[in-house]
Amino acid sequence: MSKVIVYPPTSMILSDLVERMGHKALVVPERVRELVTANDVQSPPLNVTPEEPKKGLRYAAVDVPSGVRGRMALIGPLIEEAEAAIIVEDPGWLTGCAGCSRTNELVRLLIRTKGIPVLDLSYPTDDAQAKLFVHKIKAFLGGLK
């Protein structure tokens, strides 16, 4: 079983595909669930506190907007943990979205420069492409330990 990060990092469709193939999907909703169900609720709705943008300094400098660093505090540790990645280009918001374009750019960069196996895919626009999309993901995941 490998730990696989997906992009967009909020995609439940990609997460489901990874889990079905017996791997561990690294996705943001799990991290958010940890925060919102924590006993110590300090800052509803997400329970992200000003500490998160400071933790995000590990991934981006202080002159990067606080919203990017706050998001990176959630996504960055997932990238560090990842052993493989699936990146879907131009996915559309229905697939998942971090809400911030700068964060998306940084996430893709950090995944690509980590040196792990990466499957790059285009977002499918018809049934035939969708089948090929799933087939490629299955083949990629099947090749992981």
Binding site: P44, V48, P50, P53, V64, P65, V68, G70, C100
Partner: protein, 408 residues
Amino acid sequence: MIRIAQLSCGSEYSGIQKEIERAAETVGAKIVYPEVSLEDILDVEKKFGVKVSSGDLNLAMARAVRIVENPDLADAVIVMTCFRCAEAAIIRSEIRKFIHGHSRIPVLSYSFTERTTAETLLTRMEALVTTVKYRGLLARERQKGLTAGIDSGSTTTKSVIMKDNEVIGTGWVPTTEVLKSAEDAFEAAVKMAGIQKEEIQAVGVTGYGRFLVGKHINARLIQEEITVNSKGAVFLSDAQRGPATVIDIGGMDNKAISVQDGIPGGFTMGGICAGASGRFLELTARRLGVDITQLGKLALKGDFRNVAMNSYCIVFGTQSLVNSLSMGCKPEDVAMAACHSVAEQVYEQQLQEVEVKEPVIMVGGTSLIEGLPRAMEELLHVKVLVPKNAQYIGAVGAALLVSGLLEG
């Protein structure tokens, strides 16, 4: 309960959402989030004119469209995005213009960091709520009876006594101990007016120390400076009807307010660096060895182009100041360069965020430093008005507004 619609990107991930809601609660308002459908977001370009790559900014624009189409959804709007995000800065400004252009809902825009607290937002929220809540009071154009105003500012404390629409007494002292300074300024104004304190029918208080001073003297009105400065500025400039722009460069922060019929519409309140405030001019005067009251006259004789100065940061500004003097620059050129630099910061950082409409009125103690309004005129290419008693603007606004409560 006043409903403030929040249109934002990044506030929850910056960890400041709780602070925004706390500030709203403190001023008797609640934050609401207009609901939109996915189609509204996907179609945002058709109605708004632009679509960007960040999903949350498109969501904010879709919410702006929804508010404009359903103005009953909110009483006021706050547009907030991350400080230093270029994409967000463009959209923040466009949302403000869109709502201004299509509705009469007051809008406040603000760029935040993770260090933004409820206290930082309080004055802005208070002004936004006042604009909605006290429209009738803000429409007041004449002062009636015998009232006083106290402006407990960060650098100076000012007080005025007004009687039947005239300023009859003024007092101005440096702020040291907040309560003592307020008492001293008040005493001076009472003495000049030649009245007894007991005759005063009501007192209005504004400025940083307003809560402390207001409670101490049992003030009838305790009001933030955005509202009172707007009223004071248009009253003293005889510009109560129609549009106006009020610029107040203070000792600790700056305000740029877009006013319509004496009521603030949009405003910004800056203060990220002291280099763009009255403090830098005080420092310049000290370094040049002239009294602050003489700095403006000296500046009028100089040319800012002869000195390289940028006071974006007060430390860099001071370095420029020292360097220019050591290179033999003339004091009058340095004085004008300092004025130009402060005006330029306000122009670049704040006047881009409000609709600049004539008359442009400069108020506050710094407006009396003649080089500063001159520099602003050169930057804006419009005539800048500095009304009589411009340094007492907050106190005048407070005295004027509190007289409206006498009839209630």
